[in-house]
């Protein structure tokens, strides 16, 4: 009794089994690839989730903060100023940082242009004249682009 040499060689109708085998092997590879991708992505997602925890809360808190800062601009009141400072301090504890925009060069990664006061100037030279709506970063990632007026 002897053992067949190549156990993997299909015994019967050559092409049919061979192509089935090939197809099955393909499927296995794809399934494994999908799995590996899933693992990699799950890991990346986990890191992202950790970094952007509280994103929803932070974003909604920015709205009343916008209005509070508006109020502080128009109403000169030391008490009101205190509240604004307190609010901002609290946010920075959670990794929130305001995007430095006023006076800076326009940066499309952190800003959005809402008005251009000097159409003739080349883009490279445009500088932020006014910040209509502040932009913010959460743990280094832009969560709200600053809306700016440039010239």
């Amino acid at each position: 009794m002897h053992k067949s040499h190549d156990d993997k060689k299909p015994q019967s109708s050559g092409p049919d089994l061979a192509s089935q085998l090939k197809s099955a092997q393909e499927t296995i590879l794809r399934a494994q690839a999908d799995y590996q991708n899933l693992l990699r992505r799950t890991q990346e997602d986990r890191i992202k989730t950790a970094k952007l925890a509280n994103l929803e809360i932070v974003l909604s808190l920015l709205e009343p903060l916008d209005n509070l800062e508006l109020a502080a601009k128009q109403i000169k009141d030391p008490g009101l100023d205190m509240v604004v400072i307190q609010f901002n301090n609290l946010l920075s504890q959670f990794g929130v940082e305001k995007i430095k925009a006023e006076g800076e060069k326009f940066d499309v990664n952190t800003m959005e242009v809402v008005e251009n006061l000097d159409q003739s100037k080349p883009d490279i030279e445009l500088v932020v004249k006014q910040v209509r709506k502040s932009g913010y970063l959460l743990n280094g990632q832009v969560i709200r682009h600053a809306k700016v007026v440039v010239s």
Binding site: N37, L38, N67, I75, V108, E112, V114, D123
Partner: protein, 638 residues
Amino acid sequence: MSNTGKIIGIDLGTTNSAVAVMEGGSPKIIATAEGRNTFPSIVTFKGDEVMVGDTAKRQMILNPKKSVNSVKRFMGRKAKSPQVQAAIKHVAYDIVEGKDGMAVVEIEGKKYTPQEISAKILAKAKADAESYLGGEVTRAVITVPAYFDDSQRQATKQAGEIAGLKVERIVNEPTAAALAYGLDKKGSATIAVYDLGGGTFDISILEIGEGVFEVKSTNGDTFLGGDDFDNIIIEWIIGEFKKDSGKDLSKDPQALQRIKEAAEKAKIELSSAAQSEINQPFITQGDNGQPLHLTMTLTRAKLEELVDELIQKSITPVKAALKDAGVATKDIDEVILVGGMTRMPKVQEVVKNFFGKEPHKGVNPDEVVAIGAAIQAGVIGGDVHDVVLLDVTPLTLGLETLGGVRTPLIERNTTIPTSKSQVFSTAGDNQTQVEINVLQGEREMAVDNKSLGRFILDGIPPAHRGMPQIEVTFDIDSNGILNVTAKDKNTSKEQKITIQNSTNLSDEEVEKMKMEAEKHADEDKRKKELAESRNQASSVAFELEKQLKEYGDKLDKKDKETIEENVKKLQEMAQNPDATAEELKKATDDTLNSAQKIAQVMNQQPPTGDQKVEVDLDKDKPKEDKKDNEAEEGEVVN
């Protein structure tokens, strides 16, 4: 980068685009580099650089003549055609006549065909997909409106080629939507696809038969979309404010921008709430320089009143499409909603009332076309022949361990085929065999679960309890056949049992067992805790007894007596069926504390050798070994 071999599905929209791919048998939207599921179909030329998507949108205002949006309106069309002439009025960049009289974009004297512009959008979709999949992507399925003619379809295919993609197929958008809802499995049906997007409205009547879709008619309004709804709300806000304060905010760009955002936010909120507060303090200043605040409430009822005319505007083309297709509303079997604006309850209501049936809306309306394109891509690419639905094991599988506890190996709802291993050990010294009792169920105590089978692995060389390493492997194949193997890692001796039909349970049986488990959850938890604390108590008492025998004479006589007494009490308590978990835990801790002295003595000299002590403690059951460096939980994947 190696080729992924995957075909991606791209929804190349007028206002927004999206890309999806089949993974593991189901379609998945691929997020852009910016982390969103869709991106604006905007291309901006900035010197040598070309920006696409969100980055392009954020600086559109800087270069309105160099920012190309809605280029789809010009794809494959002649410059002089009425559609192009109408669309030119809506864009800031220049459209001129190019080769063969086709409409082309002109930017700073240079001409670009709409294909070349769209290619930039497709290139971004390609890049995002490659980043997601971790490999090269060279093939795609791209969707187009059902009314696109040959020239427009060719142009779209060209755009793909310019972007480095082999366009395997051009699919109609309504067909893609129907695929996303699995309507191709319905046999034969007449389907209406109502697509209300950002800037355009399309209605298509399709017929499906034997897996083949046919477009019976199309109609729509190329300038009706979500933007129009926003504008109506903005107008209303400005109007109300003017009534109250006399000030016209439309002249104030700063206020206008805030109102625009507030309007969009209110529109979205009103899809789930009955009213929305629009609050924008310090919106402007009065004549005396005093601050003015904008504060108003928009109810859903009012919103619906405001947009009613717009929604009715969409019904006219629907009627025309039905007429062209030669069908009546009652002949429509399925209705599908596509496009973000269809999230509005009023839109859904109007559509439902018109067709007299509930429209399909489960899939995200912004993503449904891309999802459908991915499904088609999967069919072409061979990812999805017949979707392989893998079985799951309906109930948890495990075995019985010390104290009558059930230790799980494979959790319920684990997809099969699968394999899981865990190392166990003996409960008593010189235990030469272990019994494996295979259990199925959700209860914590072995006796409350179903025993699927038992077997014994013997021939374990005598050793201290906890020393032998018995690796138990549960393996379920794709047919649900469970093989349980127990192997002594030292001797390589193994035994196994094969259990058929471990996944063959009726849904009722499974439900019943789950409910029983839930009902008894607290009780089971307590029983398990009790068993575990009892095990622990016995274990500690046993160990200490051994240590006393070995080092006892090195101890102070008084100390020795105290420890002996504690150990004896602990042993008694462990045997006492009435002892509670708390009592056992406390007694164990106290005994351990009092036995510190032994540890001190132990550390001063090496151990003298094995003591043979016979203890009868669930002798044949394997002990769950928690020592980190010895018992490793391993997942065996062959």
